[in-house]
């Protein structure tokens, strides 16, 4: 049952991408900013979780929550310090700043602790379940459950709550929203808080699943999550999740047929193809940008 094992491999890889992509796509959906520092908030989340488990001796769930809360705060600080004053600036200025913030986080981290990788302690019970000759790790199931739960929660927040309504209003037209009495600053902060806490959660889950964390670990998953978000239609929450799964499965297929060295290349080929063939992504609405 080789193909079943490979499918499971692909889904478990894809669910990590999906988890990161959720935060990515949400921030883009609300304020149209590609937050390249998102992958680095993911890295910070992994390290916060690591310290919570090893130094403060927390269990997995408390560590996950700690990382989510601290990452939410970090996300708000990043937005207030780096992005807020650029809200009316050109898109390219905001994008460049985002890349700058990303490098700043990475190298500040290296400055304080060096680039040496760290090994995550074993926090989750590890049982392997055998289905038709394929092995599923209990952690894989956990990641899957967490990702789907967070996606549903996010959909609920955006579509059913007051803050979600405010987010959608700001996304549609920030000036009009302001006129209607919506506090745009707070709404955007809330967006960053939620998006960054998702990145933090992804960091802790990644760490306990893949064991190795280091200050530059956010770069590649960050880019892959971006591809996943574009693939699913950037701004669309279910799209990000489906995009993540598709990307994970495609990468696994590429590796499985013996082209493991081309795996990252395959991801970027997908990005290019999507941008050429269907720029709005699978779930995106094809709306022309206002100029």
């Amino acid at each position: 049952m080789d193909w079943l094992q490979q499918l499971i491999n692909g889904i478990s890889l894809g669910s990590i991408y999906a988890l990161i992509a959720l935060g990515y796509t949400m921030v883009y959906g609300i304020i149209k900013l590609i937050n390249f520092a998102h992958g680095d908030v993911f890295m910070l989340g992994a390290f916060i979780g690591f310290f919570a488990i090893t130094r403060w001796e927390m269990g997995f769930i408390p560590a996950l929550i700690t990382a989510m809360i601290l990452c939410a705060i970090i996300g708000v600080i990043i937005e207030r310090v780096a992005y807020k004053r650029l809200r009316t600036a050109t898109r390219i200025a905001a994008l460049t700043t985002a890349i700058g913030v990303s490098f700043l986080i990475e190298y500040t981290m290296i400055f304080f602790r060096g680039a040496t990788p760290e090994a995550y302690p074993q926090v989750l019970p590890k049982t392997t379940i055998n289905i038709l000759g394929a092995n599923i790790n209990s952690q894989t199931i956990l990641i899957l459950v967490v990702t789907i739960t967070l996606m549903i929660l996010l959909q609920f927040i955006v579509h059913k709550t007051k803050i979600g309504k405010a987010m959608r209003a700001v996304s549609h037209d920030a000036d009009a929203a302001k006129l209607m009495g919506i506090n745009v600053d707070n709404t955007i902060s809330a967006t960053f808080a939620i998006g960054s806490s998702l990145a933090g959660a992804a960091g802790v889950i990644f760490g306990s699943y893949y064991t190795r964390i280091d200050p530059l670990m956010g770069v590649l998953p960050g880019l892959k999550a971006f591809i996943a978000a574009v693939l699913g239609g950037i701004g669309s929450i279910p799209g990000a999740m489906v995009g993540g799964f598709i990307l994970g499965i495609i990468e696994t297929i590429v590796s499985a047929i013996g082209f493991s060295l081309w795996r990252d290349a395959a991801a970027f080929v997908i990005l290019i193809l999507i941008l050429i063939l269907r720029p709005a992504g699978l779930f995106g609405k094809n709306i022309r940008e206002k100029v």
């Binding site: 060096g114 990788p117 092995n135 893949y210 064991t211 590649l220 047929i257 493991s260």
Partner: protein, 406 residues
């Protein structure tokens, strides 16, 4: 008229003398403190101070920091011992460590700094073959002997065209040798026939090992049933491992570095691959056990330069001295760093000079020197000829399995 002529004469004299002084100062520049330009003899390259400077271009941070820092600790212990015993020919040794951040480009600038600013007499080269290769030209051009403790790729000392990098030496064995040992161990000790290779395709080290392993396995009548590759910094290996598993190998050879290997071993065991796994000295790091998990490493083997459990007296003395200084048991990189300094010391003593060319000749003529990682001689290709040790992981501990002579 006469006055101006005189003035001109003085001026030119002054100019000339200031040039000479400047040149002298330039030579000894960098060797800070103590010895001012007063060391008078003109020709020799300014190394005639009371200290012997050994530059260490090492991976102190970055992806393979564990190797570089271990070599540095080993070298520091050796230098402390030598200095306490009166130094080399009455001169004390000073180590000048520079961090190359585990990157080729940084290794080049570190080597340049050691040669031109620090004016070192000898260099301890980077830990990994790729980084050593980047700096080989600098050693050759400046005639500064460079000894790498763990750069195992063959082309570190021997170029493609068969010429030898005259100023480059090593205290470890070379990759093909490790690949051959692994193949022999698999077919003779473990008695397996169908093997698989999962190699790091981004390092010369792993590619060299994989090629030698494959050749030797076929020579021994075995068969490589599956081959796959990965690149450094990958974290998910399950797809390739699943494909390897479907070919039913009895043994998997995984040449690579501990950072990825740790994850590979873990994921392989999770996928239910329980055949023996084997690697070489790139696996040797305490981090490997943390990353892979102790129980997942059971039934895996590594080739190494030495074992701290070897009952040999010289090794036990070293283990004790190391333990007293650092409070931990030395790994192979500690031992190689330590040996590298003694190898250099032996050569400088025989050369009786700090001239790069003379030290180089003495290093090349080393015969049967007894070091912690074995008795070794330098062959005509500047490689160390010495024994290899096979270790088995048992519950996260390296257990001495057997020693294989070349």
């Amino acid at each position: 008229m006469e006055e101006t002529k005189k003035l001109k004469k003085y001026a030119s004299l002054f100019l000339a003398s200031s040039l000479v002084v400047g040149a002298l100062a330039g030579c000894s520049g960098g060797s800070d403190g103590g010895d001012d330009s007063s060391s008078g003899d003109s020709g020799s390259s300014g190394g005639d101070s009371d200290v012997i400077k050994i530059g260490a271009n090492l991976e102190l941070t970055g992806s393979v920091a564990s190797y570089g820092s271990s070599i540095k600790q080993g070298a520091e212990l050796a230098i402390e011992e030598i200095n306490a015993n009166g130094g080399i020919n009455g001169k004390q040794i000073k180590l000048v460590p520079v961090d190359n951040k585990s990157e080729n480009a940084e290794a080049v600038s570190a080597a340049q700094r050691l040669v031109s600013q620090e004016k070192v007499d000898v260099m301890i080269g980077p830990a990994t073959s790729g980084n050593v290769l980047a700096t080989v030209q600098i050693a050759n051009q400046n005639k500064i002997p460079m000894v790498t403790a763990s750069g195992t790729a063959p082309n570190v000392t021997e170029n493609e065209d068969g010429s030898i990098n005259e100023y480059v030496f090593r205290t470890c064995f070379i990759d093909p040798f490790q690949g051959i040992i692994a193949a022999n161990f698999a077919t003779e000790e473990l008695g397996v026939k169908n093997v698989a290779i999962f190699a790091d395709n981004s390092s010369d080290y792993a590619k060299g090992l994989a090629a030698a392993f494959k050749e030797q396995i076929e020579a021994n009548g075995g068969k490589v049933v599956a081959e796959a590759a990965y690149v450094a910094d990958d974290t998910d290996f399950k797809a390739s491992l699943t494909t390897l598993k479907s070919k039913n190998p009895e043994f998997i050879f995984i040449p690579g570095y501990y950072e990825e290997v740790g994850l590979i071993v873990k994921q392989a065991r999770e996928l239910g691959i329980d055949v023996p796994l084997m690697g070489a000295d790139g696996w040797d790091s305490p981090k490997l056990v943390e990353l892979a998990g102790a129980e997942n490493l059971n039934n895996s083997f590594i080739i190494n330069h030495y074992s701290s459990e070897d009952p040999d007296q010289k090794i036990q003395d070293f283990v004790k001295a190391f333990n007293d200084k650092y409070g931990e048991s030395p790994n192979a990189f500690h031992a190689l760093g330590y040996d590298t300094v003694y190898f250099i010391k032996d050569a400088i003593e025989r050369a009786g000079s700090l001239d790069g060319e003379k030290i180089k000749d003495a290093l090349a003529a080393t015969k049967e020197i007894s070091l912690v990682s074995g008795t070794f001689s330098v062959d005509e290709k500047h490689n160390a000829v010495k024994s290899a040790t096979i270790l088995e992981y048992v519950d996260g501990q390296q257990k001495f399995k057997t020693k294989i002579e070349p």
